[in-house]
Amino acid sequence: MQKIGVFVCHCGTNIAGTVDVKAVAEALGKEPGVVFSAEYPYMCSEAGQNLIKNAIKEYGLTGIVVCSCSPRMHEATFRKTAAAAGLNSYMVEIANIREQCSWIHKDIKVATEKAIVLGRTAIAKVALNAPLTASESPVVKRALVIGGGIAGIQTALDIADAGYEVDLVEKEPTIGGKMAQIDKTFPTLDCAACILTPKMVDCAQNEKIHIYAYSEVEKVKGFVGNFTVSIKKKARFVDETKCTGCGVCTEKCPQKKTPNLFNLGLDTRSAIYIPFAQAIPKVATIDADYCNMLKNGKCGVCSKVCAAGAIDYKQQDQIIEQQYGAIVVATGFNPIKLDGYDEFAYNESPDVVTSLELERLMNAAGPNGGTLLRPSDKTHPHTIVFVQCVGSRDTTDCGKPYCSKICCMYTAKHAMLIRDKYPDTEVYVFYIDVRTPGKNFDEFYRRAVEEYGVHYIKGMVGKVMPQPDGKLLVRGADLLMNEQILINADMVVLAAAIEPDKSARPLATMLTASMDTNDFFTEAHPKLRPVESPTAGIFLSGVCQGPKDIPETVAQASACAAKVIGLLAKDKLLSNPCVAHSDENLCNGCSSCEKVCPYGAITYVDKEFRMPDRTTKIRRVASVNAAVCQGCGACTVACPSGAMDLSGFSNKQIMAEVDAICR
């Protein structure tokens, strides 16, 4: 007979706020097999865990049920607690009464009733649990970093510094990400390229880092410590090993009408290109959509001028398969598309630009060589209006409900830089709030207002109206003066909200990593495990987890590397003992299970059985290789004789759960 202990957690008010925890503990105490029942404000705290340990020892408990948060959160914690008190760690079941009860129900009576049902279901299951012992699996000492922006670069460098191999996958032809496009950085105003490009070079020169630029992750298999990843190296039509990055091909290429994506389409480039001067790897890439040779077979100039003979029009995409112990997601962000905001005339006038476009317009390597000119007529703008929160903190369909965090600071930076370089230019900033929490951030903003005379206006812009003379008439509201304002501007700069890169969602699916409703990756714990995904072995670096500025991104990237190093430093990981096993007496050797097993874990052996008439008979029976089995349970259902079962999720356990729910 099992002796079961039930421990109901309040989780502060997270659970106790909507679930009557005392009533739950009392009701569950009356369940068959339960000999001890208690509730406690924080079961995961040391005192809470001690309560569990003491009860296990005092009452000789053979199984425990913790009614608390999701098993994805604290199952491992409570298994350790049980083990510390001498109870097999697989004699623990979690009733998820937080994520699947208290957080989604508002009515105390309803939530309490459901919590009791969830509790008794876990009790019914734990009564049928059997002690299990985890086996060990090796850790592949190699990490994969997906995304080669400043986050991915920093994480890769830190992991490589600890002596582990790192593969850095970047979908663009060069690493560097958004930071490479930025002109200056707040609040110190150092040049972004000057601090980023040395790190890019470090990556290229580090023996432990292997850069897969112009590549994408295609497929991910496996589990923590042993992922198998297929990486698609997209065809550049240039042999990376031969190209010297001399740039002759880009000069001679006759197709110069290709939009320059690095400059956000503000100017054009040749169809064969190197994104920017300091690109890593510094190798040319052919844009197949614009190349005359690839489109209609008429050209071939680059091939003729290339001294290294690197051009290869027949190059195909290449799939590389590699094994990794850990995977880091650093997929970054993009500014949102502004198609839904007609009022700002972004699609109507070239002089309405986004802040990232302004970075390129002001950059020495940008389309105007660093001189700020209106895109439409290349004249010097005398009045510039900045509009903040375009799409941020906007609950309509085209916007994002969150604060993009970086816009207040970069707008102050832009305003300051423009006033510094062109003192004759008047700068107006429309804002809802100015948010400057960060080291030296508020001082920076104050300088923009007090020293540089930037006009900050609290209120939103209602409409931007392009005028026949090329000016932009901006109509906004000044909420402090309670009046309408009209400004005749030369340029309007929109601080577009940032959103996770589009590649993030399919990647999350491949990694089975969770995301929030805005497509930011969810961290394992919002406060205590901010750089890990709830999926073991997946780590988060940079803006893919939430909006961040550069210092925060770098800090998170290094934290992420520390977590990866901690994993790779282990020689063995304990593997899941919840694997399939076959009852030889029931098995008739039909091979149904072998056919459905995705891992080839099932083989057949001839076994001698003693028959009732004292003769022996040799029969073919299934045998599961526990080291290969991943515990999906496909075989358990395929087995017609009911011989196959899954430890930890046995037929009887699940039946008992069904019964407990329907009781």
Partner: protein, 144 residues
């Protein structure tokens, strides 16, 4: 709300890697769905034996829903394909026996789709509530 309003019994089997995480995400985002839904965690949707579903109806469940990773995204590569085939067969047989198709459902919910999880559950509970109690397979001897 009237006191004798019909509250269906719904058993939801959720795979550990996608749908259970999706349900957790619905909770983290405080997305409401009816308390009638009770989740059983299974490693993979392919772990769900048709017998479990028969058992649920026998014990008086009014609806059973099976949630797994999207086709092609199964943590175990192919598990959800087996689940889909098995359930297609089982559900059409149940329908033939008089347990309406609407009482059973297979849905794909990823770990990122907390909102989808809540929507699916709201919709399923509404459908089953409209159908009313399921008496067809209920075995009264199972009741205490």
């Amino acid at each position: 709300m009237s006191m004798n309003e019909f509250k269906p019994k719904i058993v939801a089997f959720c795979c550990n890697w996608c749908s259970y995480a999706g349900a957790d995400l619905a909770g983290t985002n405080r997305l409401n769905y009816p308390a009638d839904v009770k989740i059983i965690r299974v490693p993979c949707s392919c772990r769900v034996n048709p017998l479990f579903i028969l058992r649920a109806f026998q014990r008086g469940a009014d609806g059973v829903i099976l949630c797994g990773c999207h086709p092609g995204d199964c943590h175990y590569t192919t598990g959800n394909y087996y689940a889909r085939r098995r359930m297609t067969l089982l559900f059409s047989m149940l329908d033939y026996l008089g347990i309406e198709k609407e009482r059973t459902r297979v849905e794909w919910v990823s770990a990122a789709e907390g909102a989808k999880f809540a929507t699916v559950m709201n919709d399923f509970v509404k459908t089953v509530t409209e159908l009313g109690e399921n008496k067809r397979l209920e075995d009264l001897r199972c009741k205490k």
